[in-house]
Amino acid sequence: MSTITQNSVPAPTTRRPVRDEMIAFALMTIVLAVVPFTGVYPFFVMQGLCFALLACAFNLLIGYGGLLSFGHAMFLGTAGYVSAHALKVWELPPELGIVAGVVAAFGLSVITGLIAIRRQGIYFAMITLALSQLLYFIYLQAPFTHGEDGIQGIPQGKMFGIIDLQHTTTLYFVILIGFLIGFLIIYRAINSPFGEVLKAIRENEPRAISLGYKTDQYKLLAFILSGTLAGFAGALKVFVAQNASLTDVHWSMSGEIVLMTLVGGLGTIFGPVVGAFVIIAMQQYLAGFGQWVTVIQGVIFVACVLTFRRGIVGEIGHYFKRSL
């Protein structure tokens, strides 16, 4: 049986294609840094950045570890709730609010990771989905989340006491820097011995075990890293949306994360970023069509799986024989 990302991995190149990735990274950074000075609605791009980081974190797990988590929304939502609570009720400054959210996502990913890596493949997907639904019901009933209402009117405050996050352009660059830090951590992880072992596990786990790797530890580590960074995205998103609600924990959000990564390209470095912006843009501009958005998302899912398994970036990379 072929692995899930087999179709998205471009033909092996003789030299490591670091230069292409550097150029692409520089281009991406320039484009994103120029955005606030164009006419594009900044909150749309900020939201896109949060989801892009989330999708990249998710892609670390499936694209390089071969683990399909269908419950990644739980990290987004958990970090969001904890950050929002820390900012609003405990009145912590923004930087500590983010730390609180990230720590919560870290703790959650340790616990859920230890449970979920006991099974593989579709069972892993179903377990992560069930765990996220468990959390959904807990947050629905827990008093601090305010149930259906969510936590609203979160103060943005001043980061380190000087950076005023109420100023849109300032907030934009804080979010952008957060995204770039997360992105580089993921990039570093992929291009490290750790990343190579992960890929080996994805390709053939019994072989990796026979080579002496404790594969469960590697998978758990990938899960924790992915979950924590997904939480980081959730904590940043609190500042953009200024609320934390149940939609971020619901399992349909987990499906959207999968869709973003699939559209952009599983197992590509830049794919999830492109995919996230495509899906967010689609939801933004098709919002008037009501439930048709769900139908369109379903059609994209089906089309991607049947004909377009490499995703946008994967197809481009395949065409130019480059790894992006």
Binding site: M1, S2, A125, Q133, G298, V299, R309
Partner: protein, 287 residues
């Protein structure tokens, strides 16, 4: 005491839906190696099918019980032929993703035309009312649901574990190439198996229509509980799915009586406990 028994009965009814759905999932997984994420949507289509049959054609519950699984099953077979068959040989996670997409399409379409609110479906005249068992009052329809789904589950088990057709089917799961060499049409068998699994989901939908309202999202949240049931039971055996389904329904019912706050989460908590003790599931084979 009355309330406890009532919750037990509710639990048994939910358990029969869990059993029918996880049984269908197990049958499909056995043959196609696909976790059918569209199962909840197909369950919902079964309920809507009964609703349409009654309101558009005046065809009542009893015929719907036969026709809806056939219609939705045929839809499932069409789906297998047009979409799912292209995934053979690929990682089975693609099957999960594809059926998830199909579920989104079906649910989105129904939400477009019917909103999210429920449509009523009356209990058939023959099954109205209840009987007093002395220790509790049993609404006839609820008793019927439990009994009927138990019979259907056992028939399916018999079909797969005890008949020639079932033997071929199980053989084809183990080694499709060899079974093909014996002159058995494996692709057709796969299509029919998918139809059977989908039919079971649609049947559960018809059974639930008079109890729960007919809603586009009625299957969406149920399917995740069923997934947890599948993880707890493991997909190793057909009987395992049936027993786990009913047992978890009852446990859920008991929780609703003794500690209602946990009734939504008890199945998931059990899943965690089972995974910690026996990762392969209660009846599952080790992977």
């Amino acid at each position: 005491m009355q309330a406890l028994l009532a919750q037990l009965l509710v639990g048994l009814i939910n358990g029969s839906f869990y059993a029918l759905l996880s049984l269908g999932l197990a049958v499909i997984f056995g043959m196609l190696n696909i976790i059918n994420f569209a199962h909840g949507a197909l369950y919902m289509m079964g309920a809507f099918c009964a609703y349409f049959l009654l309101n558009l054609f005046g065809i009542g519950y009893w015929w719907a019980l036969i026709l809806a699984p056939l219609i939705v099953g045929a839809f499932g077979m069409l789906m297998e032929r047009t979409l799912l068959q292209w995934l053979s040989g690929l990682d089975h996670l693609y099957g999960l993703l594809l059926t998830f997409g199909v579920a989104l399409i079906i649910q989105g379409l129904f939400q477009n035309y019917f909103g999210s609110s429920g449509l009523p479906y009356a209990i058939p005249d023959e099954l109205r009312g209840g009987v007093n068992l002395g220790f509790m009052y049993l609404p006839i329809y609820r008793g019927w649901v439990v009994a009927f789904s138990l019979v259907v589950c056992l028939l399916t088990w018999y079909l797969i574990e005890r008949t020639r057709l079932g033997a071929n089917l199980r053989a084809a799961t183990e080694n499709p190439t060899l079974v093909r060499a014996f002159g058995i049409n494996v692709p057709r068998m796969i299509t029919l198996t998918y139809g059977l699994g989908v039919g079971l989901a649609a049947l559960a939908g018809v059974l639930s229509a008079p109890i729960n309202q007919v809603r586009p999202l009625m299957g969406a949240d149920l399917i995740i509980v069923v997934f947890a049931v599948v993880v707890i039971g493991g997909m190793g055996s057909i009987m395992g799915s049936i027993i786990t389904g009913f047992a978890l329904g009852v446990i859920e019912g008991l929780t609703k009586y003794f500690y209602p706050e946990a009734s939504n989460t008890v199945v998931f908590v059990l899943m965690v406990l089972v995974l910690l003790v026996k990762p392969s599931g209660l009846t599952g084979r080790a992977t």
